[in-house]
Structures are given as C-alpha cells and as structure tokens.
C-alpha cells in the first residue's frame, strides 16, 4: 500500500508532470511565469486546492450520484479556491495583486477537475492525497522551471536577485507573451526527446 502511494506521488513529478506531459493547465503556465515568485505562489495555491479537493472528492465518492458528480466536484474545488483567495488577500496582499484573476481561474483549471474525475473519484483517500500532492508539486516545479528561464533572461534576475550584474541587457522578449509560448514549446520539445530514448 505504501509503495503504491509513493508511486502515485512520484508519477506527478516526472511521468505525468502536468504542463509538460499531460499538457494541462496551460493558461496560468503561460500567464504567471514572468517571475519565480509568482510561479511559486501560484504553485502553492494549486498544491493546496488540488490536495484538499482530491481528498474530499475521494472521501465522498460513493455518496455522490453519478449524474451530478461534475457539479459536486466543481463546488468542492471552487470552495477551496475561494478559501485560498481570501487567505492570500489577508496575508500576502502584494502577491494576490500580482496573480490577480489567475487565482479564481484555478476553478476551471483542467488539472483539478481532471484529477477529481480521473483519479480521486475512483481511488481511496490516501492514494488521492498522494496523487494530489504529487501532481501539485510537479506543477509547481514545472512553473518554477519555466519562470526561472524567463526571469533570468527577461529581467536578468532570479527571485529578484541579480544574476548577471548591471552590465546585462535584459532580453525582454522572454517576459512578454510570445516568449512564454516559445519557452514552453522548447521545454515540451526537450521533454519529448527524453521520452523517446
């Protein structure tokens, strides 16, 4: 049992890492990866919401009638997203201002409903917890990786700390929208190269 739980956790970190392998949740992946700080904030929010909603959905999976399961899942997810939004406003207001609309938009993020429907509604609580944590952390890692590349080349900083010194001319294409697409595309390409081997 422990081994399976560990497997469910680990698969989210590489094998099924959401933006690269499942190619889900791309909207925030492209939008909030200008800086590592934003990416980490977004990642934390997703970890919390995904883990909680996975656990709740799997705990009540036998009580929900089949016909209305999607509606119930969305209610669960939306509840946790709203909690995250309120807590963020109360404790990390500047981050909340930066992430803006993308926090409430976690509700319609495909990863969450996808995990609830494809995994949590068919598996036990502990496996769902492991799955939620794994996928959430994988998502955070992926966002951070993308954000690191974009921030280092686009602003010349990493987590607001200067990397190249003052003589570096920022390559501002990287922090604009096209830079996000190009960067994500290259990363997907690299991931696929690994997969082929």
């Amino acid at each position: 049992m422990v081994k399976r739980a560990v497997n469910e956790f680990v698969k989210g970190l590489w094998e099924e890492i959401p933006p690269f392998r499942l190619v889900l949740g791309l909207c925030p992946t492209l939008a909030v990866t200008k800086t590592v700080e934003n990416a980490l904030g977004m990642g934390m929010a997703v970890i919390f919401v995904l883990t909680c909603s996975n656990v709740i959905v799997s705990a009540v999976r036998n009580l929900i009638p089949k016909q209305v399961r999607i509606a119930c899942f969305i209610v669960v997810i939306a509840t946790f997203v709203t909690i995250v939004e309120l807590v963020m406003q109360a404790f990390t207001y500047p981050l909340y201002l930066k992430l803006g609309i993308f926090i409430p938009l976690i509700v319609v993020n495909c990863i969450l409903l996808g995990r609830a429907e494809a995994f949590a509604s068919k598996n036990g609580v502990i496996y769902s917890l492991a799955d939620g944590l794994g996928i959430g952390i994988g998502y955070t890692l992926a966002l951070s990786a993308l954000a690191s590349i974009r921030e280092i080349f686009g602003y010349g900083t990493f987590y607001h700390i200067s990397v190249f010194g003052p003589s570096f001319k920022p390559f501002s294409f990287m922090v604009k929208a096209p830079g996000a697409f190009v960067c994500l595309g290259l990363m997907l390409c690299i991931m696929n190269m690994f997969k082929k081997k």
Partner: protein, 202 residues
C-alpha cells in the same frame, strides 16, 4: 422521481456545506483583508502625511457615522497624543474622481499634509498632482475654515503646469474633506478623548 430527489439533495447539501465553510473563512479573514487593502492602497500616502507619528494610523482607525454612510478616520499620534487625523474625500478630476487623503492637526485646525490616493489622470501630466511634492506642500498650513482654490480661480494654490483641471479636482477634494471634518468634528473629538493607541512604537 426518487432519483431526481436524490440528485437535488446531493447538490443542495454540497452547496450548503461549502457556503457555510466560506462564510466562516470570510468572517475570520475580513478584518485582516481590510487592513491589508488599506495598507497597500492608502498606506504610502498616509505615511507621507503622518511623517514621524508614533503609531500605525491604519491600526488606529475608527469609523464615524456621516449621514447614512460611515467615514473612516485615521489617527496619528505625536508626542504621545492623538494629534492628527486623516480622512479621504473625492473631487472630480479630468478622468473621474480624484481621491485625496487630507491630514488635519486637530489642535490647530490646520492642514498638516495631503496626498492623492487614487486617480485616473493623464500619466505624466495630470498624474503630477500625485507625484509633484511642490504642489502637495502648498496645502500645508491652510486653515480648515479657508477654502482652497487654484490661482486661476482667485485662490492660493499654484496649479501643476498643464494640469489645471486635475489641480482643481484636488482642491475640490480637499474642500470636501475640510467640510466633512467640520461636520464631524464634535464626534471625532469625542472619540479622540477616549483614544488609546493599539500599537505604539517608542
């Protein structure tokens, strides 16, 4: 029929639980959210006005009834006494309302300082009413019984060059704040008498 009832019940119960939970979280975080919003939206302006105060004016705020609405009053402590209050008022600018925070010394009834909090003025032109310190400082020392006007209207304030309408908007907001202060003064003084700062820094 029974099936429909079951579906209905499932969704209702789910929504009710989540609604209750959210109401609880909201009431638990409300005070802090209000504080954070004030701190990041009005905080910088307040700090400027109340330079050298010994407390946190956002923590030491209270609300005064003004007609049907409530007005938030921020209190600044100087030399251990609640000496300055600040309140926000609005005046019509070039693009929508300009919000101005006005700090008033209650012992002398004079303006201690003003600062623009929100505005939609043209960047680089009208927006200078917020950023230009020499415009701001002209309001210092004006008595609450005077009314402020730009020089073009026969008043005492030099308008920001090229932004007369924005400057007028600020004057209007300041006048509104002064009028509010005069109206609310008895209530404010009563509250200040029993005032005790929640957090004092030495």
């Amino acid at each position: 029929m029974r099936d429909i009832l079951k579906l209905f019940l499932a969704v209702t119960i789910f929504s009710a639980i989540s609604g209750g939970l959210l109401a609880f979280v909201r009431s638990a975080t409300q005070a802090r959210i209000e504080y954070q919003q004030l701190k990041f939206v009005k905080g910088p302006t307040l700090k400027e006005i109340m330079k050298g105060c010994q407390n946190d004016p956002i923590v030491d705020r209270f609300k005064v009834k003004c007609g049907k609405k409530e007005k938030t009053i921020f209190v600044g402590v100087f030399n251990g006494k609640p000496k300055v209050i600040a309140l926000e008022a609005f005046g019509k600018g070039f693009h929508g309302d300009i919000g101005v925070m006005v700090g008033i010394d209650v012992t002398t009834d004079k303006i201690l300082g003003i600062g623009v909090t929100t505005h939609g003025e043209t960047p680089g032109v009208g927006s200078r009413v917020k950023t230009d310190p020499s415009f701001r400082t002209q309001f210092k020392g004006v008595s609450v019984n005077e009314s402020v006007k730009v020089k073009a209207d026969g008043g005492q304030i030099d308008a920001v060059t090229g932004a007369t309408i924005s400057s007028r908007g600020v004057c209007k907001a300041v006048n509104n704040a002064l009028a509010l202060y005069k109206k609310l003064k008895p209530e404010i003084l009563k509250r200040l008498k029993n005032f005790k700062s929640k957090k004092l820094s030495s």
